[in-house]
Symmetry: C2
Subunit: 360 residues, 2 copies
């Protein structure tokens, strides 16, 4: 088949232009006689690839020199432990907001390392909304306030940045980073597994305010110590070089598309089209409070669950792939990350229209 | 330039056939319309890639069902902490043998988590030999005995497998795994960063005897808990899917080459040629006790260090890349992993011969 429209929640579709450049350079990067994956991470060539990627990311997201940018491994799930190990003192407390499966995982892991205050939760609603910040029971002395701007599985997304005052704000942006403009200065720490909007899995990007470095507990594994990773330019050991290179290609591509402002406009348009269609068609439904519907992950159900298999089969046959919802929630989910072109959404709506007509 | 001979110690050269297959499949894996790096790790396609890779590795290295094979992230450096967190009880002691820079790093990290007994060290010799096992002061009650079969930086390699009796033997095989036949049954745990003989960086393979699982300390980050990773088939979170796929291509390639027996014969021949040339030529020298010379990493010096720059420049011009020794030791180093063809060694010797004639 030619390139399909891949709605996978992650690892997710990548820009075709990025994959083509990677293909061209795979055996010989710019006349060096080597693939990027065969280069010493300390070589001039790779160091330039790595530094350019960081520079482009800083430019895209407006990251000032007050922040270190780390290219780490182990995914966001490793960060669930790395964050309390680095930021949560032995006797301090951290605030967490619970809005879905990924928040809950972050909370469960943090509790293994210290005192966690769940300042707010929307579990009572089935995680279909975000509690108003006025209702949050935050601790003004918390070591940090952790939230999950976009819940990939639930399809629930904040439309505001929480106010945390002097408490460092920590965000798991795995599935929303780079999808629209971002004010990094509001955060103490941002982390994002790469496999949605950045690149292939096996890379996690951490943006951390430098005054938060150097506070790791003594039992922190060296490879999890932000200060060590920052001091060594993310090369304390061999980093995931090829993933870092691909992330760099994605950053270049984003700049060519017009940066985060342009991506935000396109992502808003894609999401609005699909939600609009779902709302207008009785055969489909989305359970999320409209104010907090995710631009990135659009879960939907059919009027009759018994038709799910047939729906997915028909979608696959048209090259509309990976529309099954997460195994924990069922139904459907269309992920519309940066690399999903608007034509993919159009094709999906066309198919959904026909399916509803025939089987609705 | 066309493909060069890349003697980098890691990330290292990969088989050209593997890179070509990856190139062919980069945008569309077997008609799925997706790159492997865009596939859900839980999709049938990726699960089959992952399972085939594990099966091929088990077949190549003769790994029985008594062992779990884990595809983790963070490199061998993360394992330096992961191993004591999982295997070293609060009050127990672990034996370590110190034979070079990588052993020392493993020891330093383990000491942060518990009692370490350095049972033997060859530091007095400048790490040019391996202490005879009869001289090791091992603890019969140790939680494990850790050693480094090949020191990548020093170019020092064991020609025997230590006897550890009932104490689990733990080996950092990053730079020697799959380079010759291996008796896994002698080990409690083997780990290897992928970027030498397995695939790209960002993947670390752990082979662990199942009776050693389930002993992690309570402060172990979940992503470092071998039991959790094993119970979830290395998919507790999103693994480094593309690296795993490439490792699988390398395993297939190794099988096509005749497996570890054939690789061992070829690697012995390559090393013997290069060491033989160095010994016969007064202009070059290798400092390592001949019995323990590494097949994988061949450090050598020129008669005059002032010629190092010129030597490297001439080598680069001929497409003989990355021959500079590690920044901590200087001189030269030629890494001869599985993917370095014998023709690369021949080309290197030809160049070294000419250089010595002209400048010696």
């Amino acid at each position: 088949m030619s390139r399909a429209f891949n709605f996978c929640a992650g690892p997710a579709t990548l820009p075709e232009a990025v994959l083509k450049q990677a293909e061209t350079e795979l055996l010989d990067w710019r006349g060096t006689g080597m693939s990027v994956m065969e280069m010493s991470h300390r070589s001039d060539e790779f160091v330039s690839i790595a530094e350019t990627a960081e520079k482009d990311l800083r430019e895209l997201a407006g990251i000032s020199d007050d922040y270190a940018v780390l290219f780490m491994q182990g995914g966001a799930s490793s960060q669930f432990a790395t964050i309390p190990l680095n930021l949560l003192g032995e006797n301090a407390e951290a605030d967490y907001v619970s809005t879905g499966i990924w928040s809950k995982k972050a909370i469960a892991e943090a509790k293994r390392f210290g005192n966690v205050n769940v300042a707010a939760s929307s579990e009572d609603s089935g995680f279909t909304t975000i509690p108003d910040q006025s209702s949050w029971a935050t601790n003004p002395d918390a070591a940090y306030l952790h939230y999950t701007p976009n819940e990939t599985i639930g399809g629930l997304e904040y439309d505001f940045v929480p106010e945390s005052g002097a408490v460092p704000l920590v965000a798991d942006m795995s599935s929303t980073i780079l999808s629209r403009p971002l004010d990094v200065s509001k955060y103490g720490l941002i982390y994002a597994g790469a496999q949605k909007n950045i690149g292939p899995s096996g890379l996690v990007v951490v943006i951390v305010r430098k005054d938060l470095l150097g506070k790791a507990r003594k039992e922190t594994p060296t490879m999890m110590n932000y200060q060590v990773i920052a001091d060594n330019g993310s090369m304390y050991n061999t980093p995931a070089t090829y993933s870092w290179y691909l992330a760099g290609l994605v950053f270049k591509w984003l700049k060519e598309q017009g940066g985060l402002q342009a991506m935000g406009e396109m992502n808003a348009r894609k999401a609005s089209k699909l939600y609009g269609f779902i709302d207008d068609n009785d055969f489909y439904a989305n359970p999320i409070d409209p104010r907090f519907r995710s631009w990135m992950n659009v879960p939907f159900t059919l009027a009759d669950d018994a038709l799910n298999g047939e729906f997915l089969q028909g979608a696959n046959a048209r090259g509309l792939l990976n529309l099954a919802g997460h195994r924990s929630v069922g139904g459907m989910r269309a992920s519309l990350y940066n690399a999903m072109p608007e034509a993919g959404v159009d094709a999906l709506i066309e198919y959904m229209t026909e399916f509803a007509k025939e089987r609705g």
